[in-house]
Symmetry: C2
Subunit: 351 residues, 2 copies
């Protein structure tokens, strides 16, 4: 049995949609048990609307919730009986194999590092969402906001971790890794990118293809895009906003008048596949890489389906033995030597 612990109280529509998502995931995965952490009365009230295998669902009651606007460190340290903190504690204690939360990103990051703990050899855990690409596959961006400012060695870790993730969870063989930069030539970028571009060429464990520009993220020619967290965040959200704006324009245009509405009828197959191609919900949440177990951070606005996909992601991370593979890859890389090289050449400069 694969055991998932889910924070039932994190997110704009918690706990209703989180409970629905959990029930949904239970139905589709017969070898999975789920612990829902949160207000028992509220969880039970929603569960009453559903049929599910009670033997595979457990509720752990908590009395506190961490809000989206709270200061993460303070909240995690003081709200000992919050759903998020208790969920992480259960994970740490071995009561579960992976965790899912659609609560505050900052709180998930903080609790992940403070309660669960980092994987040995990883200096900075990082967020890795999947972006739908032109080929109908996923492009993984790491980091996307956990570490705004980075040293070169952090980005080497991101490359290794995201490669292990893509391979273990999505079956991508020998993932192609690109460095997000303002041009493809070796001299491009700030000191950080110049240094990382140089170092990544020396890391055998990473299938590094070179610098890539922002416009290449969605082309699907690389599987993993490595970046500092600030830039990765801007790129990911820019693309998300663009996709949303374009979909909205298209929808609006089709609703314009009776003729365009007829056009929409004749195009329904096309539009359905188009939508599926750009299905952000279906891509799940961001995997929080570099912790001792798999942690999935869902969008704050996750509803049933999105949350269920996040749980599937966590399940697949356990099935694919993601953390063990990551450990193995990290051990292969001589991080100390790279860290030394990076330190010498980037001191006081990078970024």
């Amino acid at each position: 049995m694969i055991r998932i612990v889910a924070d039932a109280m994190g997110g704009d529509f918690a706990p209703v949609e989180q409970v629905k998502g959990a029930v949904n995931a239970l139905h589709n995965n017969k070898d999975v048990t789920i612990i829902l952490v949160g207000d028992e009365a509220q969880i039970k009230a929603e569960l009453a609307n559903h049929e599910y295998d009670e033997s595979r669902l457990e509720i752990v009651h908590t009395t506190e919730t961490i809000g989206m606007e709270e200061v993460p460190t303070k909240a995690v340290k003081t709200k000992k009986d919050s759903s998020l903190v208790v969920a992480f504690r259960l994970l740490k204690e071995g009561k579960a194999d992976a965790l899912v939360s659609s609560g505050s990103t900052g709180a998930v990051l903080t609790a992940g590092v403070l309660i669960l703990g980092r994987l040995k050899g990883v200096s900075r855990p990082a967020l890795c969402p999947a972006i739908p690409n032109y080929r109908g596959e996923s492009t993984f961006i790491c980091d996307c906001g956990a570490n705004l400012e980075c040293k070169p060695v952090n980005l080497i870790h991101f490359a290794v971790m995201a490669s292990a993730y893509a391979e273990a969870v999505y079956g991508v063989k020998n993932p192609r890794v690109g460095l997000l930069n303002n041009g493809t030539e070796d001299h491009k970028g700030l000191l950080l990118q110049q240094e990382v571009n140089h170092l990544l060429k020396e890391v055998d464990a990473v299938n590094y293809v070179g610098n890539i520009e922002g416009r290449e993220i969605m082309y699907g020619d690389v599987d993993v895009v490595v970046s500092d967290g600030f830039t990765g965040n801007i790129a990911t959200k820019s693309i998300e906003g663009c996709a949303k704006a374009i979909s909205t324009i298209l929808k609006k245009e089709y609703k314009r008048n009776i003729f365009t509405k007829i056009g929409a009828l004749f195009s329904s197959g096309v539009l359905k596949r188009f939508k599926k191609n750009l299905d952000y919900e279906g891509k799940g949440g961001a995997m929080f890489l570099g912790l001792q177990k798999a942690v999935v951070k869902g969008h704050g606005n996750s509803k049933e389906r999105a949350f269920a996909v996040c749980i599937e992601q966590a399940i697949n991370a356990v099935r694919g033995d993601m953390v063990a593979k990551m450990k193995e890859m990290i051990d292969k890389v001589n991080m100390d030597a790279l860290a030394e090289t990076a330190k010498t050449s980037a001191e006081g400069g990078a970024q």
Copy 2:
């Protein structure tokens, strides 16, 4: 008469498409004269295919061209008879009011600063492209790659200059300015963004609305997005790539089979308007702000229409008295006081 000088040799399809674009712009603007700078024989060979008002077109012959891959500073300093350098010299000498080139970005930036010169009070000239937004208008991003690393005061200049540009050339009244950041709260961002967010609130000449996330760039709720050049470059290209990927997916889906092709016929109006909404070519090039005259940098792959639009942009900058308005706005801002504030609070930290 408005006098435009155009670098006929810069760009992937030069000089043929540049000459076509110039002829096109001449037709549509009877109060404009154009100087085409480049290889006279090649220019004349193309001109022979067109009818145009010869009294308004002049050719200045040059023998050299600056390639896309050349080191900008070296190329601008040594290739004295290159089309770009000569065009900038003519502009500097008062033979023209504005310049257009679709050659190497680095060379245009270098020649702009070295030959034409900065506007007084501006520490760093910056590139400002227009991105089509959800509302069918333009969002201006400044800087988008001229200055990879920036100090807070540079971004204040970008905000002022881009506001003047949007107002003078596009008639945007009191343009709303947002700072590109990884979240909307005041504490978000690196030291650079935190400082700039703080400073922009104090600049009366700028209609600052606060931090914006990458996803908001295309929503059209702000007219100007301010950023350091590295981040702006990543955001702009990410959006460009996303729009291109999505258009390609849509096109592919409509070509799938006979039914989808019929759907396309019934949707032709929609698709036409959709395409127009995302018309990157129609948005012209990036205005190079902060120089003593208007300089438009077109895409390297500009063809006739794109180059003609760049010329129109240059014409409109002259018509709208962009540089004078920019001067006026810059004078209104107490740059010295701001620079002092920025220096004190950001010293040794921001980026």
